[in-house]
Amino acid sequence: MDQIRALIVDDSSVMRKIVERSLRQAGLELSKVSEASNGAEALAVLAKESVDLILCDINMPVMDGLEFVKQLGSVDNAKGVPVVMITTEGSETHVIQALTAGAKGYIRKPFTPDQVKEHVLPVVGKKS
């Protein structure tokens, strides 16, 4: 997979931009980046377009990241699409909840581009 279509879900526009920049710094070639500010918006995006990778915050208004990941299974465009959580919630409980819900990776904020590389590249089939 050379060109990646990514969906970044975070209620902070600043964090969405930083995550996008970090993905590019990690060496991913992004052909398209879609954004959503909560889980419900993200589901609406996925109803209209396909993506190859989803980066998602946990703590968001309207629909949080864990609920969003749980609902992804019922979205045709999202089947098999890897989700990596990027969040300040660093407890073991949150990590287990996210992975149980279906996330493939977990990055704690604050994060370095190297950490993004380490956790994201393997889930999109690239060597970190």
Partner: protein, 161 residues
């Protein structure tokens, strides 16, 4: 001894202030690309302009605030996003709110497991000079001023008893 008192006692016994300062330093170094250090005594408490706050509930209960003047808040946002992007007050507020959120998260993650079994609220940001802020947290207060370039940034953790 009540749970409330033990939280206050622990913040002293476990010396949480350096933990808070380390959490601040890491967030600024990683996300802002800038090293901050505790300000010399007397350098703190700059005039307000931007104050971001995040509530903490659960094993640890309270509110964390970060405040600085407008110029400093804009500079932080520019360091995070680049000068061409951080051009609106909305983005400056968003940036400071995220910094506050990450400091709160980084701090609780550095404490023992019982303490980070707690949730953070979505950040709130106040803009302007003429306001007073009073938290109903009636427990311990940890406050530190950090130097960001030539300016100081004040971070305060108020714990509920």
């Amino acid at each position: 001894m009540s749970t409330d008192t033990s939280l206050m006692v622990r913040s002293h016994e476990e010396n949480w202030l350096p933990v808070l300062e380390l959490a601040i330093e890491e967030v600024f170094e990683i996300m802002v690309g800038s090293r901050v250090k505790p300000a010399p005594k007397g350098e703190g408490t700059p005039p307000g302009g931007f104050t971001a706050m995040v509530g903490i509930a659960g094993g640890l209960c309270g509110i964390l605030t970060i405040s600085c003047n407008k110029k400093t808040a804009c500079e932080i946002a520019k360091c995070m996003l680049g000068p061409e992007i951080a051009d609106s007050e909305e983005q400056v507020s968003d940036a400071l709110g995220e910094i506050c959120n990450m400091i709160a998260g980084n701090f609780k993650n550095k404490l023992s497991s019982a303490d980070h079994a707690c949730m953070l609220s979505v950040p709130t940001v106040i803009k302007g000079e003429e306001y007073s802020f009073r938290s109903l947290a009636d427990g311990e207060e940890l406050e530190t001023a950090m130097m960001f370039g030539e300016s100081s940034v004040t971070v305060c953790l108020q714990l509920h008893s």
